[in-house]
């Protein structure tokens, strides 16, 4: 179980390997990517910031909850902060389990709860107007 805030590029393969077990029959990963628009407005890139000590604490709580609720082997979540370009990975969630039902449900739980509860903020740089903090209007 690992929840990490990082300012480095997210490297998929090492994260994936760290949560696979010999008993794992299913592995589900989610990637949140910087896309080129938000509700149709062209986006240049994103800037993420976080209140890191609380983010990592709350993130670990979410992973523990997922492990209690679903029959999973391991789970991890890494969220990047700083300036990101289109196509870059902002957040990654990986879950391994014996069976796919638990892996899908736990992964969905972790990303939904992370987006709702973990103190991370996103500022979108638009091509056609000033940057805006998402959700803060």
């Amino acid at each position: 179980m690992q929840f990490q805030i990082t300012n480095q590029e997210i490297k998929l393969e090492s994260l994936r390997r760290a949560i696979l077990r010999d008993v794992s029959g299913a592995f589900v990963s989610f990637e949140g990517l910087v896309r080129n628009n938000n509700d149709g407005r062209p986006v240049n890139g994103l800037e993420y910031s976080s209140y890191i000590p609380l983010a990592e604490k709350e993130g670990m709580r979410i992973l523990s909850e997922a492990k209690e609720r679903y029959s999973i082997e391991a789970a991890a979540c890494v969220h990047r902060i700083g300036s990101l370009k289109i196509g870059e990975i902002a957040v990654w969630v990986g879950v391994s389990a014996a069976h796919r039902d638990a892996a899908f449900n736990a992964n969905r739980y972790i990303i939904d709860q992370t987006k709702a509860r973990v103190p991370i903020w996103k500022r979108e740089a638009y091509l056609d107007s000033p940057a805006e903090w998402v959700n803060c209007t």
Binding site: S49, L54, V91, R117, P119, W133
Partner: protein
């Protein structure tokens, strides 16, 4: 008493700095935010914020003590 305040996202932008230590008589974070909101014209209503004291979530009626670190948490939008 002295309270350390850290600002993030829109609050950081509107305050212009990310951390400060202030002298205050505010009994709890609710009163403290109300003071700061007036002083710096913060646009976020307290109902939109969550609150952390000393690196964990706290209630708005928490009794502030000298040396506490307070963070007002704007609406989050990770991922």
């Amino acid at each position: 008493m002295k309270i350390q305040i850290e600002y993030f996202a829109l609050l950081k932008e509107q305050r212009g700095i990310s951390i400060e230590t202030i002298e205050t008589k505010a009994a709890n974070p609710e009163i403290l935010y109300s003071d700061l909101k007036r002083q710096y014209s913060f646009s976020l209503e307290p109902s939109m914020l969550k609150l952390a004291v000393n690196e964990d979530f706290a209630n708005w009626d928490y009794s502030l003590k000298d040396g506490d670190t307070v963070v007002f948490i704007p609406p989050v939008a990770g991922g």
